[in-house]
Symmetry: C2
Subunit: 451 residues, 2 copies
């Protein structure tokens, strides 16, 4: 058993080169796929056993899709005979010795390293905000957000039944980027469309969704006409947008914008991201966010055997910074995998990395979106047509036929029957701050339910 | 808003009777459905926001189905205008005053009470075993079992890669009833069929699944020929069965049968159940397991306004005890609902409760099962045909067209392509006892992966 994988030797007697990929996101997967037929050993390490299709994570958080529709075991995706997958975590890296130590104790010696461990939430040093305002990066995060949002309506129903009133159903979303906008639109959809008739005492449609954005505009990366369109579409969904407003404190049950207090039954974090700490472990130059500065071949300075791909790379293409989203991550991973394949074959190095930008899209709830399309045509789309484009593109890029089919079915069902697909509350029944909110005196009276 | 639900009055000016249903399992749901058109107010309280189709829970635990395929929000099932659903927990019951107090503080006054809170695991007083050997009652349990089973293979792969050996992949299942047999067969299926080719270092097919049953036979409620058939079918799946063997201790990494120690990377509990503690709260006669002794109209002695249904009831039908499974639970719930409907209409009381027994079925992995059919024909089925019957019946009884379709699709996929549907590990990466198991000295050596 021991040598089942590593014991095979190359025909000419040379030792096969070992490629270590850290991270099973878009960049890591694409790199492994590009190396599937190369004459190398590939090891991919990820903390989780599954690849998550992050652009649809908010749909799990907001009860449209279920986790297994947008996540798949990495082992099931990477089946090439030259590739092994380890579910493990990096403890330390020795770039000089080309050696990485994992939590289980495994030490991986390698000839090439592809570092693609992405980014995580940044609470700007306020780590105590993390459990009060969860962000959205993993399946676990999505299930937790779903739990909180659905639970808020349940608790309000209970309290209405008990006392005749309930705390304002305010959902505050910190950050007005694509994730913030998607979360806000979806919560509004849930409240107004999907669960509206499920409750007897409260009116879910009275929920308020508020986006708080520090900069002067939401969707900062989009052109002004699409920002304006997004604002209009959000207004149609009754989502309030507060731009130029900085959150100064988050407490159970409310957030502070300077002196102003906004009650909030559920606060979500879509504001800052920071690079994975593995970037700094490399011991090379990183930028302000902790992203690794790479040259035009995705190498950090002085390390032609290392590629940094995806969110974690501070890369440029034609002089412009490459954004930290899925498309460039895939392209970088593919570039790194192909570069190594060529090098191992003794062929000429690839041209510098070039980001082929097809554009950006953000949905704003059911049938609403903005799209800044750059390929196959150039144009700004809004509303239903942008939304439909978004749907098509995301189905197309989902990994695995089965998932595509399943997501298509769930969407068709949700959009046709106004019924959400995956509305389970899994976990406990507490919300931070609920107990301290607006609890009238003497709420243990025996008010008969028939009064 | 306050009186949206309770404020309506009956045409003739009389006050509408209030029915309180505790528990959203099969019995509680059926009772609520039987009362949907009755001239009463119905309140159903459950700790969780969803109804779980328990007969298929083991398929979530073993990665065939995803949670939302077998669970649905109770609100989405019970939409009758006279019915409200509260996600809450019972704190105390006052049967004299006909009043139940919930955790949120809500006090529910009622004219009728239908108690259907079922049963939970019993560790026979050894509560410290609970986290070492999880049982299978809720979606949370199922996700936890799935995490442990899949993680065991991942950890073994890591350790094999690191040290060249790994702990024996023993899965010990305590209890040889239907749940134990279903869990055992499914783990064997996973190891031998579904994930076999996913690993490079370990051979998942070498996993050992061991059922430990205290009594002399597995599937105690089945006739001897089906017990024998089940044993044969389990043997074909390489499942070891130890009957007449009592677990005396459970520790991280192993279980003890008297003096004998069996290593176990994952131990699962399918042995004892005990009645929900609400049975005792009623202050009436309960049996040894805590089940409420009821008369032939499902009333506890002296309480014609209370019905106890499902697992929690120690009921008899034609002198024989009614088993604690789904079919009689549904029939009891329906009976209670109809009794109240008739009583409110001033009509004659129903005949005593009679359990219409259609038979029992237990699956033993893919294409294997036993069925003791009593209706529409009498007969003992084994093997593929029993399995196919099981499949058909369970699809038929699943609540909601959407779930049926989805489960059918997942099964078709799994059984046609040998690929499991929902193999995500959600949660942390630790297994109790893994660290203390079989760890060779000096495992932090830098063995190159190419050796």
């Amino acid at each position: 058993m021991r040598n089942f994988f590593w014991g095979d030797s190359v025909a000419n007697g040379a030792v096969r080169k070992r490629v270590l990929i850290l991270g099973g996101g878009f960049a890591g997967l694409k790199a492994a796929q590009a190396l599937a037929d190369a004459d190398v050993h590939v090891t991919l390490v990820d903390r989780s056993n599954h690849h998550t299709f992050q652009p649809l994570l908010y749909q799990v958080a907001l009860a449209v899709l279920s986790p297994n529709e947008i996540a798949q075991p990495i082992r099931a995706i990477l089946r090439a005979p030259n590739t092994q997958v380890l579910m493990d975590e990096v403890v330390s890296m020795d770039t000089a010795a080309q050696r990485v130590t994992l939590k289980s104790g495994t030490v991986l010696q390698h000839d090439y390293l592809i570092l693609a461990t992405g980014s995580t939430h940044s609470y700007f040093g306020k780590e105590e905000w993390a459990h009060l305002a969860p962000g959205l990066k993993t399946i676990e995060d999505a299930v937790e957000i779903r739990r909180r949002v659905l639970l808020a309506f349940e608790l309000a129903e209970n309290q209405m039944q008990e006392t005749g009133r309930h705390p304002a159903l305010n959902f505050v979303i910190v950050g007005g980027g694509p994730t913030g906008v998607e979360l806000a639109g979806s919560i509004s959809d849930i409240a107004r469309l999907y669960i509206r008739h499920d409750f007897k005492h409260i009116d879910p449609a009275k929920a308020e969704v508020i986006i708080v954005e520090g900069s002067p505009a939401i969707l900062g990366a989009y052109p002004p006409d699409l920002q304006a369109s997004a604002l209009k579409q959000l207004a149609a969904l009754d989502v309030k947008v507060r731009t130029g407003a900085r959150v100064t404190d988050i407490q159970p049950g409310y957030v502070m914008l300077g002196e102003e207090r906004i009650d909030s039954v559920v606060t979500l974090w879509a504001a800052g991201v920071q690079a994975s700490p593995l970037g700094k472990m490399l011991g090379v130059e990183v930028d302000r966010r902790g992203c690794v500065v790479v040259d035009d071949h995705l190498h950090p300075a002085g390390h032609p055997e290392i590629f940094v791909c995806g969110d974690l790379a501070a890369a440029t293409s034609e002089g412009k910074p490459v954004p930290g989203v899925a498309q460039p991550a895939m392209q970088m991973g593919d570039y790194a995998g192909k570069s190594i394949t060529l090098e191992v074959q003794g062929k000429q190095m690839q041209k510098p990395f070039h980001y082929f930008d097809k554009g950006d899209m953000a949905t704003i709830g059911r049938k609403a979106a903005v799209a800044n399309v750059k390929w196959p045509f150039k144009g700004h789309l809004s509303g239903f047509f942008a939304w439909f484009t978004w749907l098509t593109v995301h189905i197309f890029f989902l990994i695995g036929f089965r998932n595509r089919f399943s997501v298509f079915r769930s969407w068709a069902w949700t959009y046709a029957f106004f019924e959400e697909g995956s509305r389970l509350i899994v976990g406990d029944q507490t919300l931070p701050g609920w107990d301290v909110q607006d609890k009238p005196e003497g709420h243990l009276t025996t008010r008969p339910i028939d009064e």
